[in-house]
Each structure stands twice: as structure tokens, then as C-alpha cells.
């Protein structure tokens, strides 16, 4: 049996790319040669992930398509191929978040949902990595969507050696460290987080620091967030960009709390990562976040503004009882994700698709 995987863009430190590469090992063991192909391949992954046009002409037994965004050429490619398709839905962010910032990107996202509808007749099995994502896929006309966990490599994070790079990021911060991990994109609302941190550091914890790990993929939005930090004179905010694993692991270890103001997540791996290292999590009740947090995070409502968020950030660090309770609950949530081997689960679904 030959099973290949297709992703739109493959890049280092990208959750979906990591997921596909982790699953590739399982596929290779179970079914023999298995490759990952992408429309866009970051140069650092050349030879690991192959360009889409290199998919052999000879039909495989199954193509697994990881859906994250619209890409007309990938949809055309899949429609033209003879193989059955299995969809792994990681979520497509609603285009509304991006319309004020990038019409082109918003159009790609809107196109993604359309392409999923077009692909429907070719898809023999569909899985999603959260209950929220499964419901979205069902709304697009897919039946019997199964939920299977993402291949989150928490051990790699826990075992990563400290190379001192995290301390360099945190240089000059003496107080508690609040960590955000995720791309600086409009739907993740880092702008709201900066506003909350402004209130926190101005009125509640003057020495606090905020580290926002992640690439700014939308230039205008990323620049605006950084400009807000400058104009509010928040000298303890750091933007290290996307960081390698040792730095990320060091930041998780050194942080006092994880906080995200995101308004849309298909899963949100950083919440699980943060809980795995014992950090209390402050987040908002949007999309898949309540599912992923599993009742172990301090979840704010949509109507709660930056002042309540600042108060929550302060509480999870300053209130020792609350912090301890959250840390313990977080570990229990992590256990629910680690109790099941995501690769085994995925292979089970591949068998269903092949049948």
C-alpha cells in the first residue's frame, strides 16, 4: 500500500508540517514508502518534503490532504488525481479576520472552504483534530467526521536542552513573564493582549514582561502591533519571532503563565504545551479553545475587555492557590492527549479510508 500526504505549505516549526512528518514515520512503518508533498516547500525542508509536482504519475492507494488554507493549485491537483483522498481538517480561519488587512489572504481563506466543498465527492474519509473542527467540516457537507488528536510532541519540548537563548530573549525583565506562542495574526488578537499587558504593567505589575513568540505573517498587522507596543512605551515586551525548539522550551520553562487572546483556533497546541510544563493558562472562550483547554484554563468571555484580561493574568501568577489548582488541572488535561497515541489513531483512520 502506498499512502502519501499533501500539505499546502511546509515550513520548520509549523504545527501541521510537524504533524505530517510525525505521521509519515507511522505510515512508512505500516505501509512502506510514504512521502510528504507540498505546494510550497521552505528551503530548510528541501529533500524532506517534496514539491507537489514531484508526486509520481503512478497512482498511490491513498492521498492524505491536510487542510489549513485554500490553495487553488492543490485543489486542482487533487481533483485531477485518480487516488481516493482522505482529508485531515486542521481548520481554515474565517476570512473576516483578514479582510481589513489583506484582501488577498482573505480570498485564499474563503476559497479554501469552497475547495473543500468541491473535493467532497473525492473524499473517502474525513478526520479533524478537534471537535470544533469536526463540526465545521460537517457544516461543509462532510458526514461521519472522526476526531483524532494532533501528533503533539510534548516529549521533545520537555527534553529539549536549555541553550541559554531564552535568557537572552528575557534580558532586562525582572518580574513575572507572560508568554504567548502563535503567529501574529489578526484572529489571534495579539493587539488585545498588548492592551491587556499595558494595563497589567501600568497598574498591577510594573516589572512584568510579555514575550510574543511567533512570526508576523501579515506585514501590515504585525507592524501595527509592534507600533502599538512602541507608542504605549512597553519596554518589557519582546518579539523574538519564530524560535527554534531549545529557545521555545526555555521560554516555556522560564514563563510564569501562558496567555492568549485568540478568537479563533482549530486546536491551539501551545495551550497543551504550556500545560505540559505546568503553566497556568489564560485564554478566551472561542472556537476549539474550551475543548483543548479541557476545563483547566481561565477562560474569559468575548465581552471581557483588556482590564479583565489583565486581572486574570495577575491572578494566575499572584494567587498561589489558584495557580496550583490550575497547574494540576492542566496536567490532567495533558494526560487526556497523551493517553492516546495520535499516530496509531491516524493509522486506524487510514485503514478505514483504504477499506
Amino acid at each position: 500500500m502506498t499512502v502519501h500526504q499533501v500539505v499546502v505549505a511546509a515550513a520548520p516549526h509549523d504545527a501541521v508540517t510537524n504533524d505530517a512528518l510525525a505521521l509519515q514515520k507511522g505510515l512508512a512503518t505500516a505501509h512502506g514508502a510514504s512521502e510528504v508533498y507540498a505546494r510550497y516547500v521552505h528551503p530548510d525542508l528541501a529533500g524532506v518534503v517534496h514539491p507537489l509536482e514531484h508526486v509520481p504519475d503512478a497512482a498511490a492507494d491513498l492521498l492524505v490532504y491536510h487542510v489549513t488554507i485554500g490553495e487553488p493549485r492543490v485543489a486542482e491537483f487533487l481533483l485531477a488525481r485518480p487516488e481516493p483522498v482522505m482529508v485531515v481538517y486542521h481548520n481554515i480561519t474565517p476570512p473576516e479576520f483578514f479582510r481589513p488587512w489583506s484582501a488577498r489572504f482573505a480570498a485564499l481563506l474563503a476559497g479554501g472552504r469552497e475547495q473543500l466543498r468541491m473535493l467532497r465527492p473525492r473524499v473517502v474519509h474525513a478526520v479533524a483534530d478537534s471537535r470544533f473542527n469536526a463540526s465545521e467540516l460537517a457544516a461543509l457537507g462532510y458526514d461521519d467526521v472522526a476526531v483524532t488528536p494532533l501528533a503533539v510532541d510534548l516529549l521533545a519540548l520537555r527534553d529539549s536542552a536549555d541553550d541559554g537563548s531564552a535568557e537572552r530573549v528575557l534580558a532586562g525583565i525582572d518580574g513575572p513573564v507572560y508568554l504567548f506562542v502563535g503567529q501574529l495574526m489578526p484572529h489571534k488578537r495579539p493587539d488585545l493582549l498588548v492592551q491587556a499587558f499595558h494595563i497589567l504593567s501600568t497598574y498591577l505589575e510594573p516589572d512584568a514582561g510579555l514575550v510574543m513568540v511567533g512570526a508576523a505573517r501579515q506585514a501590515r498587522y504585525g507592524t501595527a502591533v509592534e507600533q502599538l507596543v512602541r507608542e504605549l512605551a512597553l519596554s518589557n515586551v519582546r518579539f523574538p519571532g519564530a524560535v527554534p525548539l531549545p529557545t521555545l522550551a526555555g521560554l516555556y520553562r522560564r514563563a510564569d503563565a501562558f496567555v492568549t487572546m485568540s478568537e479563533h483556533e482549530g486546536f491551539c497546541i501551545p495551550i497543551v504545551e504550556a500545560m505540559s510544563v505546568g503553566l497556568p493558562v489564560v485564554a478566551r472562550r472561542f472556537a476549539a479553545i474550551p475543548d483543548t483547554a479541557g476545563g483547566a484554563a481561565l477562560l474569559l468571555d468575548a465581552g471581557d475587555g483588556p482590564a479583565v484580561a489583565a486581572e486574570a493574568m495577575h491572578a494566575v501568577v499572584a494567587d498561589a492557590d489558584l495557580r496550583r489548582t490550575m497547574t494540576e488541572a492542566g496536567r490532567r488535561t495533558v494526560d487526556t492527549f497523551t493517553a492516546v497515541d495520535p499516530v496509531d489513531e491516524f493509522l486506524r483512520h487510514v485503514e478505514v479510508a483504504l477499506a
Binding site: A134, V147, T333
Partner: protein, 355 residues
């Protein structure tokens, strides 16, 4: 749809602590701080507004300045009126005279103003077009920045563009290098090294065939050729250009003194091809090559001016036979070779005959 095993969303409690109760307490604290005057009125609204101003300001500030400047031009244009031309005077009867003159030339003044207004209207129209164009360019630049930040850098098209840019830069550098090479020849900085004159005496002893003998490159071998009674003439300036200017198939011999070393590999190939065209059947090209191994010579002689490589070039161009005559005759042993490398030159002459 398969239900996941993750914790229930409705059962929102961190351990024994109900999340809703915690958040309610946090909201109450925020209200208390507001009532106490810790938070200024409208704090959150101001922060939100501030970010939105930043978001649109980046582009609009620049466009606004442009629009304001053009509006001022337009305002001044519309204010053109004869009534604004003063008629007051400090001298007795001066005002009467000015008013009388104004009445006399009123028709002409109005005519001039009409033309100026028409001109100002045309300028204002052009200004509006400039603002529109600038706005359009801003959005296009934003889009390009987003593409660069997103996936395009990893695309094959982007790689090809980068490669094309690099090739263009290489061509530009080679063009600069070519100009620099001409100045080297014209300044006559080339001088014989130990062993060169003896080798040229040996070259001169080989009586060239019929036809003109041409000397290209360094001109110091002239005296040696004269002493040997050879009737020769110089090929002055850039050897590539000079050889190209020779009448085809007429030269009996072309002697190259320190020509190959400073040439780029591409120019070396071009020179050999042009020599083949310039030399008469049976004619020879004698190439003087400095020791490519000597580390103490202070010259940049590399593999591209190694006798073996130069011989290869001549053979490929159609010369045969092509002989290498080493200084001192015969191939040296390992020990002699090491001495050459460390202490001095071991040069060679390549003699290529055109069949």
C-alpha cells in the same frame, strides 16, 4: 460524527474551582478599581481606538499629508481674485492712482486670473490622480510584503527570481571586473618574475612560422624577442579586444605573456576561441603560465590558469597538438614539487598549434 474523548466544555471547572466564579470575581475587581479611580475613564476604549488609529495611520498618515499639501495648493488657486491686489498707498493720492490703474487694467487682470484658475484646476486634477495612484501603490506594496512573509519565498518561482537577480549581479560584477582588467594592462604593472626571462628566451629560440608574430599582455619580453631577431608587433590593450581585431587566419604566432592569470574563466574560453580564428593554419599560440602552486609569488594564480586546464581549453578550441613545457624540463618528483610550492616558481609554457 464521532464524539471526542476530551473533557466536556459545559463542565467548566478548574479542579474544585468554578471558572465562572473566578472570572466574576475578576470582573468585580476591575469595577472596584474603576470606582476607586485607578483606571481612568474610557481606558479600554482609548486603547482599542489607539490600535485602530495605528492600523490605518501607517498608510493614511502619508496619504493625508499628500492630500493636505494638495488641498492647500487648491485653496490658494481658488482664492485668486483681483480684489486681493492691494491699492492702498502711504503717499498722498497714491491710493487714487492705484485704484485708477486697477480700473484701467481690470479686464486684463481678470483675463490673467481666469487663465491661472484654469491652470490651477488642471493641476488639482493631476494631484487627485497622484493621490489615487499613491493609495493604489501602497496597497500593492502591502500585498507584496505579505507574499514575501507568507509562502512565496519557498516557491520555485521565487527561487528562480532570486537566481535571475544573482546572475544579473554576477554579470554586473564581471563587467566591472572587465573594465578593471583593461586598466591593469594600460598601466603596464606587469613585470617579469624570476625565471620568466629565461623561459621567454627559450620561447624566442623556437623560430615561429611564417606570418606576423604578435605579442599580447605584458610587454617586457619585447627585448628578448628583439635580441632573438624576431620581427614582432604588439597587441596593445585588452588582449580579448586586441585578438578579436586581428584579421582572421593571418597570424603566424601569438605570444601571450601573463595574459591568462587575470582573466575570468568565461573570458579565457572566449580568448582561446578568438585565437583559433586569428591564427593561420600551422600557426601557434605560445602561452606563458606562472607556477600555479607557488604560495610565495604574491599572485592569484589558481586552477583556471593551470597548464593542464589551459591545454584542455586549447584542445577543445581545435588546436592540436598542444604541448606543455615545464621550466627545467620534464615532470618533477614529489620532493621537487614541494620545494616549488614552498620556495619558488615552477612555471610552464603551453604551445598550441592550429592544424
Amino acid at each position: 460524527m464521532t464524539e471526542p474523548d476530551s473533557p466536556s466544555v459545559e463542565d467548566v471547572a478548574i479542579g474544585d474551582v468554578a471558572v465562572d466564579d473566578v472570572v466574576a470575581r475578576l470582573r468585580a475587581k476591575v469595577d472596584e478599581r474603576r470606582r476607586a479611580g485607578l483606571y481612568p475613564p474610557g481606558l479600554e476604549e482609548d486603547l482599542d481606538l489607539h490600535f485602530h488609529h495605528i492600523a490605518v495611520r501607517g498608510v493614511r498618515d502619508r496619504l493625508k499629508r499628500l492630500e493636505d499639501a494638495f488641498a492647500e495648493v487648491e485653496r490658494r488657486g481658488s482664492a485668486l481674485h483681483a480684489a486681493r491686489i492691494g491699492t492702498e498707498s502711504q503717499r498722498a493720492a497714491g491710493s487714487v492712482v492705484h485704484k485708477a490703474v486697477a480700473r484701467l487694467v481690470a479686464r486684463q487682470v481678470e483675463g490673467v486670473l481666469t487663465q491661472v484658475r484654469e491652470y490651477a484646476d488642471a493641476v488639482a486634477e493631476a494631484q487627485r490622480a497622484v493621490v489615487l495612484l499613491a493609495s493604489d501603490l501602497e496597497s500593492k506594496i502591502d500585498e507584496l510584503r505579505d507574499r514575501v512573509l507568507a509562502v512565496d519565498p519557498a516557491s520555485p518561482e521565487a527561487s528562480q527570481r532570486v537566481l535571475a537577480d544573482l546572475l544579473a549581479r554576477v554579470d554586473a560584477l564581471e563587467a566591472v571586473e572587465a573594465r578593471r582588467r583593461v586598466s591593469v594592462w594600460s598601466e603596464g604593472v606587469l613585470a617579469p618574475a624570476p625565471g620568466d626571462e629565461a623561459r621567454w628566451a627559450a620561447i624566442a629560440k623556437q623560430r615561429p612560422n611564417e606570418g606576423p608574430v604578435l605579442l599580447a599582455g605584458a610587454q617586457w619580453p619585447a627585448a628578448i624577442l628583439d635580441a632573438a631577431g624576431i620581427d614582432w608587433r604588439p597587441l596593445e590593450g585588452d588582449p580579448l579586444v586586441a585578438v578579436d581585431a586581428c584579421p582572421p587566419g593571418e597570424a603566424g604566432a601569438v605570444l601571450l605573456a601573463q595574459v591568462f592569470e587575470p582573466l575570468s574563466p568565461r573570458d579565457q574560453i572566449a580568448l582561446v576561441a578568438r585565437l583559433h580564428a586569428a591564427v593561420a593554419p600551422g600557426g601557434r599560440v605560445v602561452t606563458d603560465l606562472r607556477n600555479p602552486y607557488a604560495v610565495g609569488r604574491g599572485e592569484a594564480a589558481g586552477a583556471a590558469s593551470h597548464p593542464a586546464y589551459v591545454s584542455f581549453l586549447f584542445r577543445e578550441a581545435g588546436f592540436t597538438p598542444v604541448e606543455v613545457v615545464w621550466d627545467g624540463g620534464g615532470e618533477a618528483g614529489a620532493e621537487a614539487h614541494l620545494l616549488d610550492v614552498v620556495f619558488g616558481a615552477r612555471s610552464a609554457t603551453v604551445v598550441a598549434t592550429r592544424p
